[in-house]
């Protein structure tokens, strides 16, 4: 291996920093028109009148689409279900006069220029009949119910059945904690606004033929949706998305601008672009607000004997969005008496949507604070408590992990951080006005692999061209796929071109859940091996070939040559081989699936240990995270540079979630009010100080052949609890609600 494992800079870096990389709203075509969405001002009720006459009278306005004049669309719910649709009845833009949530798209103004469309949109007058809405999670807990299950439950299993007798064990426990944890809703807020540019053409039969540049984490998801909703055959559709200005889960479902732009293009027979505004970025999926209760019990020596964890998540009135919030404690810790419960509270909001480590960071931000509380009840070092209750089994499934180097994460993380010098007592470290605190927490996240296909072609010029319809959501997919392909065929990365984000390429799943490296990486490896096998066949046909009796296992690809492992002098260059192919490239397409038989006896997870130092100005309540160390057990690290970036991003977001992020919902209006980047606070540079990442060595041949676990999410999971625990250590104040803003510490 020459490329894998090296800190190679992004192969797309140059395109990005020079502005050559194009995003969905940057593909220009002649005669493009522009759509601007009008959003609902109320959270629930009916539209009684829409008056678009002023808008229509403006020069350059082509049409105002509303529920009244929209085209006939697919009838059944199933057509609107995308690959990430939770159970329920998906939201349909412009369906009828019903308003289901504040900010709902209710009209689309299309004009010759963006400016005219935007101005015209401000002239559309809408009258409503309002109904009373419910948006307050805490006030509606009594309406909580079991979630409906669907295919989504395959990747998001419901909590396991209770085991043992929690009540009795908890009563008998000599140390116990019991707390309620409330987390605010959050919005993904990628920098790039959601946009779709739909290029309209017709085929030889005058049927519409669309090329759609979409902001999405999966072009296959978008094409499926458009095909079903608008009844267009796949052959007349192409969805392209080479770059994405951040996804974080926001692009796992087609957003409504895709519907709007496609509908308008088909009706007007023109190319249309619809870009959402920053305010409208707060009008679809978000990380749901949650209320959780955690109770833990332990014996005097710290052995946990009782664990209770429940969660109430917000969902919409039309879909049951679920996430795995409570299962983690049962996986990580070994108590015999465990009860876990997860319920949904339907509210008049849009369906929540997966956001970086959905459920995982939510549940662990409560559970790992509770663990810290238990440690203090016991008078035990928080890290020691984790070690005392360390388990090599997933106690929900009673099966081992395919690999779990968490102990090593604790050891290396603690050493780098200097944890052994920590004084147990809260409020024991001070500097000037500031109290200093050290906290830690565990992180865990699933290591899944799905199925995907890829194509590879060794061209006659000796270059390797590889493609798959996956996405680059900013994680470094272009780079690691290039590395995998290069190593599989013994080529330098400069000779490999990897392409993605186009439905003309072989199918790949939506990019999320930290499964892309494992899934698409395996597909790329497999298809390059197919090419390698074809090259071996060609090699055998050479006159006097030394490879005549060679099997696949007997050969290797090194330095642009195919050679015998036993006799490296028996080598032939790939260039020579491809030229034996009758002037054609050596091209293969193939797919991979996870090896279910091999995997079924194991739980597959990535683990992390997060250590955090905070400085708290006690009088003023301000918190500064002065340093943090994350030690990660994430399988094989394909590229330490892009890998580190993923973990850093997760750590920053973890700090941001702990201290800043909150989508403020006004319940009088049922509306998110801080819908701008000035008022929705994410951590800025000045909030982030010393961050350190350690990758712990971990070998795993169960997760996939490459041994990779995916790193997109594990970096955030432990951070919020580690920050909250450090704040407790600094101040002696236990804050269970996130974000921990300064007023909570006064």
């Amino acid at each position: 291996m020459t490329a894998i494992g090296k800190p190679i800079s992004r192969v797309d870096g140059n395109e990005k920093v020079t502005g050559k990389a194009k995003y969905a709203a940057e593909f220009n075509v002649p005669d493009l028109t522009y759509g601007y969405v009008v959003s609902s001002a109320i959270a629930k009720g009916k539209i009684t009148n829409i008056d678009a006459s002023d808008a229509l009278s403006l020069d350059g306005v082509l049409k105002v689409f509303t529920y009244k004049n929209r085209p006939k669309l697919a009838w059944f719910d199933i057509s609107y279900k995308d690959q990430d649709a939770p159970p329920g009845s998906p939201f349909r833009p412009l369906q009828d006069e019903t308003i289901k949530y504040s900010g709902q798209p209710i009209a689309l103004v299309v004009a010759e220029t963006f400016e005219v469309a935007r101005y015209a949109a401000s002239l559309v007058r809408i009258e409503y009949k309002e109904d009373t809405h419910e948006t307050d999670l805490e006030a509606n807990l009594h309406r909580a119910r079991e979630p409906k299950s669907g295919i989504a439950s395959l990747l998001k299993p419901p909590p396991p059945k209770p085991r043992g007798d929690f009540e009795t064990a908890y009563q008998d426990a000599s140390a116990k904690t019991n707390g309620r944890y409330v987390h605010a809703a959050e919005h993904h807020n990628p920098m790039e606004l959601f946009a779709s540019t739909v290029v309209y053409e017709t085929d030889s039969k005058k049927k519409p033929k669309l090329t759609i540049y979409d902001k999405t984490q999966g072009v296959t998801n978008s094409i499926l949706y458009v095909s079903q909703v608008f009844n267009i055959p796949f052959k007349n559709l192409r969805v392209v998305s080479p770059y994405m200005g951040g996804g974080f889960g926001a692009g796992l479902r087609p957003q409504y601008q895709l519907f709007m732009a496609t509908m308008a293009a088909l009706e007007l027979k023109r190319s249309v672009r619809v870009t959402l505004t920053r305010q409208q970025m707060f009008t679809f999926g978000h990380r749901p607000a949650t209320v959780q209760n955690v109770a833990l019990g332990a014996l005097p020596d710290g052995t946990m004997n009782a664990l209770y964890h429940d969660a109430y998540g917000e969902t919409s009135q039309f879909e049951d969005y679920t996430e795995v919030v409570v299962n983690w404690g049962g996986m990580l810790y070994p108590p015999e008496n465990v009860t876990m419960d997860y319920k949904l509270v339907p509210l008049d909001v849009y369906s929540p949507l997966d956001m970086r480590a959905p459920g995982g960071v939510t549940g662990m931000a409560a559970l790992e604070v509770a663990m810290d509380e238990l440690a203090y009840e016991l008078g035990m070092d928080p890290l020691e408590l984790r070690l005392k209750n360390y388990s090599d089994l997933d106690n929900n499934e009673k099966r081992p992990y395919s690999s779990k180097e968490l102990r090593e994460c604790f050891r290396q993380g603690a050493e780098r951080f200097g944890w052994s010098k920590r004084s147990f007592e809260p409020r024991s470290m001070k500097k000037d006005h500031n109290l200093i605190g050290w906290g830690m927490a565990t992180g865990i996240w699933d290591s899944n692999m799905l199925g995907a296909r890829a194509e590879a072609a060794l061209l006659v010029n000796g270059k390797l061209w590889v493609s798959s319809a996956t996405a680059e959501i900013g994680t470094g997919t272009y780079t690691i796929m290039t590395q995998i392909a290069a190593d599989t065929l013994g080529m330098p990365i400069e000779d490999v071109l990897f392409k993605l984000g186009d439905t003309d390429f072989p199918i790949a799943p939506i990019s999320g859940g930290s499964w892309t490296a494992a899934t698409v990486g395996s597909a790329v490896q497999a298809v390059c091996e197919e090419v390698g096998k074809s090259l071996l066949k060609l090699a055998k046909k050479m006159p006097g070939s030394p490879f005549k009796s060679a099997k696949w296992e007997d050969i290797e690809f090194v330095d642009k040559h195919l050679r015998l492992k036993k006799d490296p002098s028996a080598a032939v260059s790939l260039m020579t081989l491809v030229n034996l192919n009758g002037g054609k490239a050596v091209r293969e397409t193939s797919g991979v699936f996870a090896d279910v038989m091999k995997q079924k006896n194991f739980t597959r997870s990535a683990h992390a240990a997060a250590f955090v130092e905070v400085m708290v100005d006690e009088e003023l309540g301000t918190v500064k995270v002065t340093r943090a160390v994350s030690a990660i057990a994430g399988g094989r690290i394909l590229n330490p540079k892009t890998a580190r970036s993923q973990i850093l991003g997760g750590m920053v977001w973890g700090i941001s979630k702990a201290l800043h992020e909150e989508s403020a919902l006004d319940h009088t209006f049922g509306r998110f009010m801080n819908h701008s980047l000035a008022e929705y606070h994410v951590s800025v540079n000045a909030d982030i100080h010393d961050l350190d990442v350690i990758f712990v060595e971990e070998h795993d041949d169960v997760v996939n052949k490459l041994g990779v676990k995916g790193l997109g999410e594990i970096g955030i999971v432990g951070m919020p609890a580690a920050v909250a625990n450090a704040i407790f250590h600094a101040t002696g104040k236990r804050v269970r609600d996130l974000p921990i803003t300064l007023d909570k510490l006064l």
Partner: protein, 341 residues
């Protein structure tokens, strides 16, 4: 955003004439606030009068020994001006606590005084707001009012009773907090010629006219801001408390300036930001300090006096206690009793 015409003014008089002849017109300077508000349809001027070419972009000495900031000097150029740093370090520190470098490069000193509140409801046409649409109601009063005012919100009705507030918005500027403490003077020109407005009288409380932020007449333009000679260069502090370390408006801020002689206070200025519809000062509170030693107890007494009558509205009630602590801290730092880090 609506359509508008755009003109460039080449002299102060013509700018004033243009505005006087069309009250739906607006001056535009750096545009960092106005354009945002236009995009949200909160401001809908029919005409923009670009004033950036007017000759008011320099900092000069005044006859009284102070400095005159032309209304078009950028926030960045003001903060980094050597004379400001030497003589009015409080002002420099305050400006640099606001916005971001990019914004400060565009934002002008005149525009900073005129910037409008950041109240979420003011920005969102879907919600009622007395400031945007007088008489429609104040959504913040019973809403998400974390960033809202705790002082000067209630007015005395004709019956002598305190009435429900019409608006609990704050003035969001940092710079203005220092200008209030320094007792700057705002120089304006209108149809009737020039006049000077003491800083304390420039911004107003919401009262019954929450849609009006200040006392600038509709035909007037700000030409300059005069800083008096006294700049408190030795004992000063701007303390800004906010929801993240940078690029956020103040929840509470304090501009503190002291004059000390042998540990005794001979002059004191305290202005608060983020707590009222205007930078908040109370001469009685400052007077409590004069002639007294710089001690935490005395600062505490001043803080109590400054916050007298403060009222919280739920989400923002924490500001009352926070402001008191911030005052004590800032005064302590200004007096060099406490470290500034």
């Amino acid at each position: 955003m609506n359509s508008f015409t755009y003109t460039q003014a080449d002299a102060v008089d013509t700018a004033v004439d243009e505005r006087a002849s069309d009250l739906t017109a607006k001056f535009i300077a750096g545009g960092t606030n106005l354009i945002d508000l236009m995009k949200e349809n909160v401001e809908r001027p029919t005409r923009l009068i670009d004033i950036t070419r007017l000759p008011m972009a320099t900092i000069s000495e005044t006859l009284e020994g102070g400095l005159r900031l032309g209304a078009l000097v950028t926030n960045a150029d003001t903060a980094y001006d050597e004379r400001i740093i030497q003589r009015y370090p409080l002002l420099s520190q305050t400006i640099l606590a606001g916005a971001s470098p990019q914004l400060r490069n565009m934002a002008t000193d005149g525009g900073n005084l005129m910037q409008r509140t950041r109240c979420y409801y003011f920005y969102d046409l879907a919600t009622p707001c007395n400031k945007r649409e007088p008489g429609s109601g104040c959504s913040a009063l019973n809403g998400f009012n974390r960033i809202h005012a705790i002082l000067g919100t209630r007015t005395q009705g004709s019956d002598g009773q305190l009435a429900e507030p019409n608006c609990i918005a704050t003035h969001p500027s940092d710079m203005c907090v220092a200008l209030a403490a320094l007792e700057a003077v705002v120089r304006v020109t209108g149809k009737n010629g020039e006049r000077s407005i003491p800083f304390a009288e420039f911004h107003k409380l919401p009262g019954d006219t929450p849609h009006i932020d200040n006392t600038l007449e509709s035909d007037e333009i700000i030409t300059a801001i005069d800083l008096p000679a006294k700049g408190f260069p030795d004992n000063f502090m701007y303390l800004k408390l906010r929801d993240r370390a940078s690029y956020a408006f103040a929840l509470v801020s304090v501009a503190a300036a002291l004059e000390l002689e042998n540990g005794n206070i001979t002059d004191a200025r305290i202005a608060l930001g983020g707590v009222a519809h205007k930078p908040w000062r109370k001469p009685e509170a400052e007077a409590l300090l004069v002639g007294k030693p710089a001690t935490k107890e005395n600062f505490q007494a001043a803080a109590e006096a400054l916050l007298a009558g403060a009222q919280g509205y739920g989400h923002n009630t924490f500001k009352i206690e926070l402001a008191k602590r911030a005052i004590v801290r800032a005064l302590g730092q200004a007096a060099k009793l406490e470290p500034t880090a």
